[in-house]
Symmetry: C2
DNA sequence: AGTAGGTGCAAATACGCATTTGCGCAAATG
DNA sequence: CATTTGCGCAAATGCGTATTTGCACCTACT
């Protein structure tokens, strides 16, 4: 349909190289792919073809490669939200850093599936009944939101992918996540080590995997301390009110699920004359936001998670075993005291 | 070479649907793509085919589609540094936001050329003699650094691309940039409007296009004001010393090329008891860094630049005219007073 | 009745590349 | 000298889809 006149600057194809070098297209393919030995090509021919290819600026068409049954060394990145969101651009960024790092190391290019938006305006892996991500050899799927049924379809198609952040998907899928449970346990342990014996815990009501894991960690750690549980769904000011009383009666640390909560609580406490960390330590079980990086608490190894996700995916791709078991990795979290976590002050030791 | 794994029922193809529905593959294609009217297909046939397709869970192969379509609807993003740098990730991000926005709107996917790192460890458009970015239909080239000769080669190959941030490339290339010159003029005008008549100007010795434009803008604006020029290559403390004297003798505003300089100067002035903006206004001719967004001065419309770059590229791609003239856009900058720019204080009016 | 026009689809072709097969030639072998 | 072997490549084939072309068959009209 779209054959234009000769002047049209169309991308060079193997056939063009073949014509100029006086060989056949198949020969060009062999040479380009380094299969020259397989096909028994003269060095002289090889050099001639390569030089023509270079002159023409030839680059293989990824779609054709993939169609022909080969691989195209393209790894996809899919997110249900914008990859580069305006607001919390800090969320995806560390993952991307890790992914880019490994992609560079392994010589893969990355594809961002920005076309995966249907007429309805919804992003999805399958849009209007079509798989939008199949162009790449495999994909890394990021994000807080995720449509389970799409993930399942993907797996059923046998398409290689890795999830970042574990999801409870029916059946087994490869994923990378952080060990929120253990991180939570460690955080409480750290508080204990600093002398805190009476701790307030502000949970979240989220139904996400990390929230559950944090909750589990809390349950496990609570035994060793005196813990009071507070309802995280109330306002920061309400929380601060309850906390003020608790602090007066011996509570010296507060643990929240989210850094945002911690920050709000800190501000609300300040209004009541309670200072952090002098009067009370505050610790979040999540990464701090960009604009206030010094909240103490867990540090999620996002960059490492991204890199690991890439590696797992490559594993799948390069494994010849069709029954390659889904691989999972659970990475340890870090901990930072930040400006809000301090040892129990001397004067409160016997409170 | 890679026969689909035996156990996995291979994905259904249009041919499968065709067989089951008793039609030809081409007919299936017409129907799947809603071209039924073009091909004059009976409603009955259409429904039958669609129902079979649905039963089989048919999903078109994107690679095949792109092959057949000629183009691959892939737009590349190239940078000489990491696309996701660890440090100033604030630099590329706004551009990427704009690009992603438009890519999504136009139904294109984005490719990050992470494989464009040669054995030497250097990033480049041409690595080991191979054009690494030709994979995409076109590319947007970002970054402070840029290798002129590569850009020239690209253009000579007829490869469609757009630069973000104008460069002085031999010959004509399509680009998007901000109007630093006009922005600079406007910034000085704004100072004048606020009552400042005596201004200090700290230039940079950079040999970049934006630096030259700022310089030009300064030359143009300087006529209307009393301006003292300071050597930007000295230390912040040295600058502060000179400035202190100037301020004592009537200078009420400082203009620097870089926000970083402005911040350092502000700090150095503070040590000398000079306060911003009470004693002197400070204004930068560049975007503020992430960690101190309230420095007054120019605001570069990076997001819009990204979006515009994408649009220009699409223009090239979808234009049938091979001799499509290179398009350029120069976007207006914004201005923000931030916390450092204020009207000339009353008590200094007659200084 | 004979022809023109229309309709609904099959068939053919192309997209760019990977892979396999086969052919002509020359050297080696018996 | 007849025959096998090996070499270097051309040619053919397939991947899954989109698009164009062609062809029966049918209707309407003269």
């Amino acid at each position: 349909m779209n054959r234009k006149h000769g002047t049209e600057s169309t991308r060079p194809r193997q056939a063009d190289i073949a014509r100029l070098a006086g060989v056949s297209q198949g020969t060009v393919s062999l040479i380009i792919n380094g299969r020259a030995s397989t096909g028994r090509i003269l060095d002289e021919t090889r050099d001639r073809v390569l030089s023509v290819a270079h002159e023409l600026g030839y680059v293989p068409d990824p779609a054709a490669r993939r169609l022909a049954g080969g691989r195209n060394r393209l790894i996809g990145i899919f997110t249900y939200e914008s990859v580069f969101p305006l607001s919390h651009h800090d969320f995806y960024h560390p993952f991307l850093v890790g992914i880019e790092e490994q992609a560079e190391r392994h010589g893969y290019d990355l594809v961002l599936f920005t076309s995966a938006t249907g007429t309805s305006g919804e992003r999805g892996i399958f849009v209007d009944g079509q798989n939008r991500i199949g162009l790449a050899d495999g994909a890394i799927i990021l994000g807080r939101e995720m449509r389970t049924e799409e993930i399942v379809s993907l797996r059923n198609e046998g398409y290689p992918f890795t999830l970042v952040g574990r999801r409870d998907i029916p059946g087994e899928v490869p994923y990378v996540t952080a060990d929120y449970r253990r991180g939570t346990v460690d955080a409480f342990a750290e508080l204990a080590r600093l002398g805190h014996t009476h701790v307030a815990y502000v949970s979240s009501s989220d139904d996400t995997h990390p929230a559950h894991e944090r909750e589990a960690g809390y349950q496990e750690a609570a035994a060793a301390l005196t813990v009071v549980e507070l309802d995280g769904s109330q306002s920061a000011d309400g929380l601060a009110g309850s906390l003020a009383e608790l602090i007066a009666t011996g509570t010296s640390a507060v643990v929240t699920h989210y850094a945002e909560t911690a920050i709000e609580v800190e501000a609300a406490l300040a209004l009541r004359g309670i200072r952090v960390p002098d009067d009370v330590s505050i610790l979040a079980l999540n990464d701090p936001p960009d604009d206030d990086p010094s909240i103490g608490g867990l540090r999620i190894p996002r960059r490492e998670m991204g890199a690991m996700a890439f590696d797992l995916l490559i594993d799948q791709l390069e494994s010849d075993d069709p029954e390659h078991a889904p691989i999972r990795r659970v990475l340890p979290t870090g901990f930072a005291a930040g400006r809000t976590v301090a040892p129990l002050p001397q004067h409160r030791r016997n409170a």
